[in-house]
């Protein structure tokens, strides 16, 4: 590897491990989220110029913080409103961290910053979006796709949240241990969004961003240790472990997506399944059911079935029923339709899919036509299946999923002539 490649790799590593820290540091010292993000961005760009030439600094995080802080100083100097802030900024060293006055009991820096970001005076969806943007470094389009809302909606949500932070003066402060509970819901959503972004990367040709899954599970474990009496924290950890147990079987050697039904179950990670089931048992014993526990229970049904044919679809349909009572989101209803189709036949599932279509839900979500296509195929309505697969292909965001749908479409014509 050349110096340039090595330096670029170092910047990429630093982005993964330190982006959130740099942004959090700047938010704390400037109180301005937009400025913090922009100056962090500048610092990483500068690293890309400098590190190949000057070498990678011994502490990349400290270099990035100093560079970003100096950038913020420059910009504040040029604006009149910034003058008051300047004094604090010039006095602060880069070594201080969120730990001063910290009574949260959270040792992990990243988890602590997540709780700090998720202020309960903001709507939960804004807490989540802000955290993913400022700490995890996800882009606004990535976050918009993760929550199935248009890009502009997500951008507006972020703008409104930042405005409330500034105008109602919401501080960026680590919450005390007894106040962590009210922020837990958003933190769980953040961690699961990270996991999902890694598990089915929302755009591009890379289907799995392994590092995000590993990090999400690590954070899930820490959270389960920190809050052993929170069943949903345990539920989330269990859910991620059970989904992640299938990773080796989910993509074939050519990088193609393999459906659950066609996966080689001997590739499933039995240790992860055992741990996932174990954690779920602990959660269920607390007797406060919730969406993550229910989703984990569904994942456990799949994980424990020795073959696709032995899957207990009736149990899964019941679990989706309960889940849709708590969170009647279109995505949950769509998954319920799939489970019902497996338990009671494609016609019953199709009826539920049509209800969703009539409600106008998920209009741009490729899995809605993809599901419909699969159901009408199983009802031998091949021409309709073909046009519906085409519709799904127009909407699909990642290359691997596009190839998968294209393959289903070509298999369709074989099936038709059989």
């Amino acid at each position: 590897m050349g110096d340039l490649a090595a330096a670029q790799a170092a910047v990429a590593d630093a982005f993964r491990s330190d982006w959130g820290r740099v942004v959090a540091y700047l938010i704390r010292v400037t109180g301005n989220w937009d400025l913090a993000e922009e100056c962090a961005q500048d610092a990483f760009e500068r690293a890309l110029e400098r590190w190949p030439r000057d070498g990678v600094p011994s502490s990349p995080a400290a270099w990035l913080k100093t560079t970003a802080r100096n950038r913020a100083l420059d910009r504040l100097r040029r604006s009149t409103v910034g003058e008051a802030k300047l004094k604090d900024l010039t006095m602060l060293s880069t070594s201080d961290d969120a730990t001063d006055g910290d009574q949260s009991g959270i040792e992990d820096d990243r988890l602590r910053l997540m709780f700090t970001c998720c202020h309960p005076a903001l709507p939960v969806e804004a807490q989540v979006a802000l955290t993913l943007r400022s700490l995890a470094g996800l882009t606004t389009p990535e976050i918009a796709r993760a929550f199935l809302v248009p890009h502009e909606t997500m951008a507006k949500r972020l703008t409104r949240a930042k405005r409330k932070i500034a105008e109602a003066r919401i501080p960026y402060r680590v919450p005390a241990a007894h106040r962590l509970g009210e922020r837990l819901r958003a933190v769980l959503v953040v961690i699961y969004a990270l996991f999902n972004e890694g598990y089915g990367a929302s755009a591009g040709d890379e289907l799995i961003r392994r590092d995000l899954c590993v990090e999400a599970i690590r954070l899930g474990r820490l959270l389960a240790e920190l809050m052993p009496d929170e069943p949903e924290a345990l539920g989330l950890l269990s859910l991620m472990l059970l989904q992640d147990s299938r990773r080796a079987a989910r993509v074939d050697p050519d990088g193609e997506l393999v459906t659950l039904e066609n996966q080689n179950r001997s590739l499933w990670d039995q240790a992860a399944i055992a741990e996932g089931c174990n954690v779920l048992d602990r959660a269920v014993r607390l007797r406060r059911p919730g969406p993550y526990q229910l989703q984990a229970a569904i994942a456990a049904c799949h994980a424990l079935a020795r073959s696709a044919a032995e899957t207990d679809w009736h149990e899964i349909a019941v679990l989706y029923d309960r889940l849709s009572e708590i969170v009647p989101t279109p995505v949950v209803l769509l998954n319920r339709a799939v489970a019902v189709a497996m338990a009671e036949g494609p016609a019953a599932g199709l009826k539920l899919v049509e209800e969703l279509e009539q409600a106008g839900a998920l209009a741009d979500y490729y899995l809605l036509p993809a599901t419909r296509a699969d159901l009408v195929r199983r009802l031998s309505r091949y021409a309709e299946a073909a046009t519906t697969y085409q519709r799904a292909l127009e909407l699909v965001p990642t290359d691997a999923e596009r190839r998968f749908l294209a393959r289903r479409l070509s298999e369709l014509s074989e099936e038709r002539h059989r």
Partner: protein, 113 residues
Amino acid sequence: MRYALLVCLDESGELNEADAERRYAEFTVFQDEMEARGVLVARERLRPTALATTVRVRDAGLVVADGPFAETKEQIAGFYIIDCADLDEAIEIASRTPGAKHGTIEVRPVWEI
């Protein structure tokens, strides 16, 4: 930074004398604490919404109507203006308001001119 704490309570419930006295005592304690802490700028208790009048000026001229701005289960029964560091402190103070136990406290930043 100044915030208004709008104390929203259900004014329909009649209090017996003992409860009314207890509640009055709670408010007094709270106000004394806030004054000692130096965050209290102003406070007023409002008469019931039955005495409220709304005033609007529209194209057709002045519109005066009987009753409060919005018919809701809880009405604004009083307010505090406090001056404190940030929203976390305002929330902490709001949480000590006796009204927070049976009503809702709306915390609103005040325009700084």
